[in-house]
C-alpha cells in the first residue's frame, strides 16, 4: 500500500494519455460484457438443457411434424422414463408484430420434464383443470399487463381452426417463472388437446417434437439410436439428440454465436493490449532516469519491476472495472427493453470472473515488456544518459 501513491503519481504524470488508455480498456471490457450477455441470450437454452433430456424431431427439419402415435412407441423404448411433446404454434396477440413463442403442450408430462418452470400450486391446478387455459411466462404477462383469469385471444400465423378462424380464445390460468432466470420467461403454453380438437381432421394428431427423459444420461446415445431405428424407413423418420445439441443447433441457426463473440472479443482485446503495452512502454522509457534514481536509493531490481507491473495492472483494472460496470449498467437498463427479443439477457457471474481474470492477465502481459526494461536498467548508464 505504501507504494500506491508512487504508482498513482506515475500514472497521473500524463493524465490525458492515461485517461485515453483507461478509456480504450474500458471500451474493450464494455464490449466483452455486452457480448457475453448476448452470447448468453443465444445459448441460454444450451446451458439449461438437461443432460438427461433428449429431443426427437422430424429427420428432415424441426418444422415438419410427426404423428402423435410416436408418443407411445418412444415411451416404450427401454431407458425412457418420461415423454412429452410440444408444437410450434406461431402465435401472436392481436397483431402479428406482437409475436409470442406459443406451444401447445401435453401439460402433465411437460411440466414433469421441465421442473424448472415454477408455477404456484393453485395456478398450476387451475391450468391443469381448464382445457382452454394457458400458462404465460412472467415477462410476457408483465409486458401486456395480463392477470390470471384474463380471457385472451391468441392468434396463429400457421394454423386455422376447423371453422377457419385463426384465433383461440383462452383464459390465462398460470404465470410461470423459470428457476434462476435461465429459461424463457416470454413463452406461452396452451393445452394440446384443446388445440388438436379445434383443428381440421386432416391435420390433427401431429406433434412438433418430443422431449424425453432417460434413466441414465450415459445411455443417451444408445437410446437415441434405438428411437431413430424404430422409425427408420418409415414415411416420417426421426432424429434424436440430446437437448443440449438440439438447443445449440437452434441457437446456431443465426450463426455460431460463441465463435462470433470470441472473434470480436479477441480482436478488441488484442487492440487494447497493444494500446496498453504501448502506453506502459512509453511511460517507462520517459522515466528511465527516475527508475534509475529509485534503484540508486536502494529499490531493488525486483521492486522496481513490480512497481511497473502494478502500474500496468492498476490501469487495466480501473479501465476493466469501469467497462464491466458500464456493461452491467447498460444490460440492466436495456435488458427490460430487449426482453421481448432476448428473454435471457444478463451478464453471467462466470463471465464477470473471466473478465477479472482477463484484467489480471492483460495487465501482466501489457506490463511485461516495460517491466523487463526496468529490470535490466543499469543505473550508471541510465543516469549518464539522463544527465
Amino acid at each position: 500500500m505504501k507504494y500506491l501513491r508512487l504508482v498513482r503519481a506515475s500514472l497521473m504524470r500524463k493524465k490525458t494519455r492515461t485517461l485515453l488508455t483507461i478509456g480504450s480498456i474500458m471500451i474493450a471490457f464494455l464490449m466483452f460484457g455486452l457480448l457475453s450477455a448476448l452470447e448468453k441470450a443465444f445459448t441460454a437454452g444450451v446451458d439449461i438443457a438437461g443432460a438427461d433430456r433428449l429431443v426427437t424431431i422430424h429427420k428432415v427439419s424441426l418444422i415438419q411434424s410427426m404423428p402423435l402415435a410416436y408418443y407411445n412407441r418412444i415411451r416404450a423404448v427401454e431407458g425412457v422414463t418420461e415423454v412429452t411433446h410440444a408444437t410450434w404454434f406461431g402465435g401472436y396477440y392481436k397483431e402479428p408484430r406482437n409475436f409470442i413463442a406459443t406451444f401447445p403442450i401435453e401439460a402433465e408430462t411437460y411440466l414433469k420434464i421441465y421442473p424448472e418452470l415454477e408455477i404456484p400450486d393453485e395456478q398450476r391446478a387451475a391450468f391443469m383443470q381448464d382445457r382452454a387455459g394457458m400458462a404465460a411466462g412472467y415477462v410476457l404477462a408483465e409486458k401486456y399487463g395480463w392477470q390470471v383469469g384474463d380471457r385472451l385471444p391468441i392468434r396463429s400465423e400457421i394454423y386455422r381452426q376447423d371453422d377457419g378462424s385463426d384465433t383461440w380464445e383462452m383464459t390465462l390460468r398460470a404465470i410461470y417463472r423459470p428457476k434462476d432466470n435461465l429459461g424463457d420467461p416470454t413463452a406461452l403454453m396452451m393445452h394440446y388437446d384443446f388445440f388438436n380438437e379445434s383443428l381440421p381432421e386432416r391435420i390433427r394428431n401431429r406433434a412438433g417434437w418430443y422431449v424425453l427423459r432417460v434413466d441414465n444420461p450415459d445411455n443417451a446415445p444408445q437410446i437415441a439410436e434405438a428411437i431413430d431405428n424404430q422409425f427408420a424407413n418409415s414415411s416420417t423418420e426421426t432424429k434424436t439428440s440430446t437437448e443440449k445439441a438440439f438447443a445449440a443447433g437452434f441457437a446456431n441457426q443465426v450463426g455460431n454465436i460463441g465463435a462470433i463473440v470470441t472473434g470480436v472479443v479477441t480482436a478488441v482485446f488484442f487492440t487494447m493490449l497493444l494500446v496498453t503495452a504501448n502506453t506502459m512502454g512509453q511511460s517507462v522509457r520517459e522515466r528511465t532516469n527516475e527508475l534509475a534514481v529509485l534503484k540508486t536509493l536502494g529499490f531493488t531490481n525486483n521492486r522496481v519491476t513490480v512497481l511497473v507491473l502494478i502500474e500496468s495492472l492498476l490501469i487495466t483494472a480501473v479501465g476493466g472495472l469501469l467497462g464491466l460496470g458500464l456493461a452491467w449498467l447498460l444490460i440492466q437498463v436495456l435488458g427490460d427493453a430487449l426482453r421481448q427479443f432476448l428473454p435471457v439477457f444478463y451478464l453471467p457471474p462466470r463471465d464477470l470472473l473471466i473478465g477479472l481474470a482477463l484484467m489480471a492477465i492483460f495487465g501482466l502481459v501489457a506490463g511485461a515488456l516495460p517491466a523487463g526494461q526496468a529490470l535490466r536498467l543499469r543505473i550508471a548508464d541510465a543516469l549518464r544518459r539522463g544527465a
Binding site: 501513491r5 536509493l297 531493488t300
Partner: protein, 227 residues
C-alpha cells in the same frame, strides 16, 4: 562516519570496439568524517569513481571497502540494500520525481524501511527542516527554485541518516549564491553530523570548501592535497 578504502581499482568501458580505460589501478583512502573534493577534467573518471564507491556500478578489478565492508563483491540485491542504509546520493540535476511533493520525494528512501507512515512523514519533515525547507514540503519540484530543489535532494540523501554522502557536481546547475548555500549545508552536515562526503566538482571555489582535494586525470590519482 564512514571510511572508504580503494585498492587497485580498474574500470573499463567498451565504446563499440574501442576500449576505454576510465580508472586505472587506482588506490584511495578516505577517512571517516572527511570532506573530499574529487576534481579533474571531463572524462577523467570522477563520476565513475563516485558510482563505484556508491555501489551503482561495478569495477573490472580491484576492491572497494566502505566501513571495512567489501562492497564490490555484493550481489545486486545486497548492494541495493546496502545503498539504502549506508549512502546518500546528491545529483547535479537533483533527480527529484516531478510528480511527487518535496516531502514525498524525501520520504522515498524510507519506503524501503518498515517505518509506519506517520513516522516516515515525521522524518521527512525533520530532514526538510534541517535543510531549511519545512515551509515548502507540499510543493512539487517544478514549484521550487534550483537551490531549493537541491536542498530537497540533500534532505532525501540524509533522511535515512547514512554515514556517507556522495555528491556529483551538487552546485553544477546552480548560480553562485545558491551554490554557496548548498556548500554551506554540506559543510554543516560534515562538521555537525560527521558525514563523510565525497564531492565531484569542476569548480575550484566549491573544492575549497572541502578538507581535501583529490585530482584525477586519465583514470589515475594525480594529486592529493589537504586544504
Amino acid at each position: 562516519m564512514s571510511s572508504v578504502k580503494i585498492r587497485g581499482l580498474t574500470k573499463t568501458y567498451m565504446r563499440g570496439s574501442e576500449r576505454l580505460d576510465v580508472l586505472n589501478n587506482l588506490d584511495l583512502d578516505v577517512k571517516g568524517g572527511d570532506f573530499v573534493a574529487l576534481m579533474g577534467p571531463s572524462g577523467s573518471g570522477k563520476t565513475t569513481l563516485l558510482n563505484l564507491i556508491g555501489g551503482i556500478d561495478r569495477p573490472n578489478s580491484g576492491s572497494i571497502f566502505v566501513d571495512n565492508q567489501r562492497i564490490d563483491q555484493l550481489s545486486d540485491r545486497q548492494l541495493a540494500h546496502w545503498r539504502s542504509r549506508n549512502v546518500g546520493f546528491i545529483f547535479q540535476m537533483f533527480n527529484l520525481l516531478p510528480v511527487l511533493s518535496a516531502e514525498r520525494n524525501v520520504e522515498l528512501p524510507l519506503l524501503l524501511t518498515n517505518m509506519a507512515a506517520a513516522e516516515r512523514r515525521s522524518r521527512a519533515r525533520t530532514a526538510l527542516s534541517l535543510v531549511g525547507l519545512d515551509d515548502r514540503a507540499s510543493h512539487k519540484p517544478a514549484e521550487l527554485s534550483g537551490g531549493q530543489e537541491q536542498r530537497v535532494g540533500i534532505a532525501r540523501a540524509i533522511v535515512t541518516d547514512p554515514g556517507l554522502l556522495l555528491c556529483d557536481e551538487p552546485t553544477g546547475d546552480l548560480d553562485r549564491k545558491a551554490g554557496d548555500e548548498i556548500l554551506e549545508l554540506l559543510v554543516a552536515l560534515n562538521q555537525s553530523q560527521g558525514k563523510t562526503i565525497i564531492m565531484v566538482t569542476h569548480d575550484p571555489h566549491a573544492a575549497e570548501r572541502a578538507q581535501r582535494t583529490v585530482h584525477l586525470d586519465k583514470g589515475r590519482l594525480e594529486m592529493d592535497a589537504a586544504a
